[in-house]
Amino acid sequence: MDLFLNAIVSGVLLGAFYAAVAVGLAITFGQLDIVNIAHPAFVVVGSYITWILNSRFGLDPVLVGVLAAPVFFFVGALLYRIYYAAFERTGQESLSGLAFFFGVMFIVEVILILVYGVDYRLVSAGYLGENLDIGFIGLPLRLFVPFVVASAMTAAVWLYLSRTFTGRAILAVAQDRLALQLMGADPVKIKQFAFGLAIATTAIAGSLLIMIGPVEPSLGRVYIGRAFAIVVLGGMGSIPGMVIAALLLGVTESFVSSFAGPSWAPAVAFGVLLLTLAVRPSGLFGRA
């Protein structure tokens, strides 16, 4: 029973972190149809910024993530401008755009290697080694703090997209670009803002990543498959769907690790993904 409940709790903590990594991709890939394969690379950049400010000035990792988010927003907006001018405007966004983001990913990795080397980087904070024990359920703060921050960030993004004018405009640009244009809004500016917002989330996700474990420049590649799978399973752009998909993936991985054997975890998790898509081709919360 202990193992069963702890497996669920661990899975939920892990799933919330996966949601933090995938929420930005749910906007870019799910809603804007931009295959930003470099998304996890920006998460790693977020981790490096957290490491620099934590090791040099002792700043709290979460605080660094929040402080870096606005800077990431502007970087994202600028990146979208380049992407728009080079590919989207000329209608070459599908294949050339994918190649562009592949290139961005490699450039980001190489810059990190050249500037900071290839050693593993970690952060320290007083609470990271602590454990919160509630009955027989153990909550390592190394995973619980990322869970709280990830949940807050994902909820904030969801509320923003569903309750504010700009948020709804982002959803609208995904559905019908022409209609939005007829309403007097500039779809390019809306998409630029949305892309900036998506990249801003990677700053916080990066700070969470380095709290959980050590980071090196190419670590982002590990999360490409997972993040895209979560977005697809969630229903391409639905934030609640993405959260449920992330939790499903986290809990499945944790369960299989606890009861069957960890090497089965990805196979079972992605098997669940395939089964779900077979039953609901548009994903959990997708528009049919």
């Binding site: 202990d2 193992l3 702890n6 497996a7 661990s10 899975g11 903590l13 892990l14 972190f17 990795e109 190489v110 290697i113 900071y116 080397g117 290839v118 050693d119 593993y120 980087r121 970690l122 952060v123 320290s124 080694g129 454990n131 153990g138 390592p140 190394r142 995973l143 959980i212 474990g213 050590p214 090196e216 190419s218 670590l219 590990v222 991985e253 944790s254 369960f255 690790s257 606890s258 009861f259 054997g261 960890p262 090497s263 975890a265 990805p266």
Partner: protein, 419 residues
């Protein structure tokens, strides 16, 4: 006054001189032609941390040898390419090194997965192949010119964990059960295979024996599943990020095993040691060289002093205890062999390497018939009195006590792991 005849004579003399000089220059250049050593190295990708540190050590050797006048009177030059930690890139790199760059000697990249793909190319050309940290690569190839500098021993898979199990069985009461967990990758699976054999040979009951995928983020479910089987000892074969996850999860879950560790790669690196700090205390893990008084081999401290200067601000391990001395030593083996046989004849070099005991910065090196060390020197060290957030504590002795083998022992085990 210069007349036509004297001008013609002077012109002819100048021409002859120029011709002679032209003939002499290539001859002189030939004598000075550098001796090229070729290799691939993981300078980007997952193993780049170790690959870059190895390259720094190799460059120190090159500087040292060139100051001494080079090899066979020729200055030594490296020709190397980044294999990006991708085994598929290794065979074309060695083909190019041998056929296009025409290197005189080859040595290996770092790691099992990068050494194995080079073997067929090197074997076809019958070259001696000093290799850097591959586990049991030659078990399959059985190549008689392969020489492994990692001191795993004649039976690499079993020797790798033998000390861990021998230490465990010396304790009172003797442990009865073991959990074995390994990453789903070639090296950890080889290590786990050896651990299984050792456990069975010692009569230990294996209560948990599973692998996990290398991209695992959270290790607490794995450690909880291990804890649920209540093993007396736990043997872990893991790569650096997983090792960190495992140690943290073991502390968070409160793993009650009496011995924990074994084959965790990464716990030898200063950055990880600093971050894990006191969580490492009493973990027993493999190592190859630590700054304990029993392991002060001639030249090792001088080498490490040079390494520390060269490694500064390069984003690699600042102390370089784990891999760099061996990256220096495998070139010392090559150097001593070339100097002894006074040629680059691959057959003579191989014969010399088989029969000689080499004096290197990692101590005496003697290869067995399969190219592994004739006697294993896999150390098992125990982390002790590790303080929080202190990198410098790992520079000197006292933090990683050598428990095994007895010849190099610097202290006694603290058992059980968690009191």
């Amino acid at each position: 006054m210069v007349n036509r005849r004297s001008f013609a004579r002077a012109f002819a003399a100048a021409g002859a001189l120029a011709f002679a000089a032209g003939a002499l220059v290539p001859a002189a250049a030939h004598a000075q032609k550098p001796l090229k050593i070729g290799f691939s190295m993981a300078l980007t990708g997952g193993l780049a941390g170790a690959g870059k540190a190895a390259l720094i050590a190799m460059e120190i050797w090159r500087e040292d040898i060139n100051k001494k006048g080079g090899l066979l009177g020729r200055q030594v030059e490296f020709v190397y390419y980044d294999d990006a930690t991708q085994p598929a890139k290794v065979p074309p790199i060695y083909s190019k090194l041998i056929d296009v760059d025409k290197v005189d000697l080859v040595v290996s990249s770092y790691g099992t997965n990068e050494i194995a793909p080079a073997m067929p190319i090197v074997m076809r050309k019958k070259l001696v192949f000093p290799s850097l940290f591959g586990l049991a690569v030659n078990d399959e190839f059985k190549y008689n010119r392969y020489f492994q500098i990692m001191p795993a021993g004649p039976e690499p898979k079993v020797d790798w964990s033998r000390g861990y199990f021998e230490l465990a069985m010396e304790q009172n009461p003797k442990p009865k059960t073991v959990a074995i967990v390994a990453a789903d990758a070639e090296f950890p699976i080889n290590a786990a295979t050896g651990a299984r054999k050792n456990a069975q040979a010692k009569g230990l009951k294996i209560v948990y024996d599973k692998t996990y995928p290398p991209a695992t983020t959270d290790f607490t479910p794995i450690v909880r599943a291990i804890e649920a089987t209540s093993p007396d000892i736990v043997y872990v074969a893991s790569y650096p990020p997983d090792s960190v996850g495992m140690v943290k999860a073991a502390n968070e879950v409160g793993l009650k095993a009496k011995m924990f560790g074994g084959g965790m790669v990464g716990l030898q690196f200063a950055a990880i040691q600093k971050n894990l700090g006191p969580l490492l205390n009493n973990v027993v893990n493999y190592d190859f060289w630590v700054p304990e008084p029993t392991l002060k081999f001639p030249g090792v401290n001088e080498f490490l002093a040079k390494y520390r200067v060269a490694a500064k601000d390069k984003g690699v391990d600042p102390f370089g205890h784990y891999l760099p001395p061996f990256a220096y030593a495998y070139l010392q083996v090559l150097e001593q062999s070339v100097n002894a046989v006074k040629s680059l004849d691959q057959d003579k070099l191989a014969q010399h390497m088989h029969k000689t005991t080499f004096q290197t910065v990692v101590g005496e090196v003697k290869f067995g018939s399969n190219g592994e060390w004739a006697r294993s020197r896999v150390l098992f060290v125990q982390f002790r009195d590790v303080q929080k957030d202190n990198l410098d504590q790992f520079a000197g002795p006292g933090k990683r006590i050598v428990l095994y083998p007895k010849n190099w022992k610097s202290g006694d085990i603290v058992y059980p792991y968690r009191k």
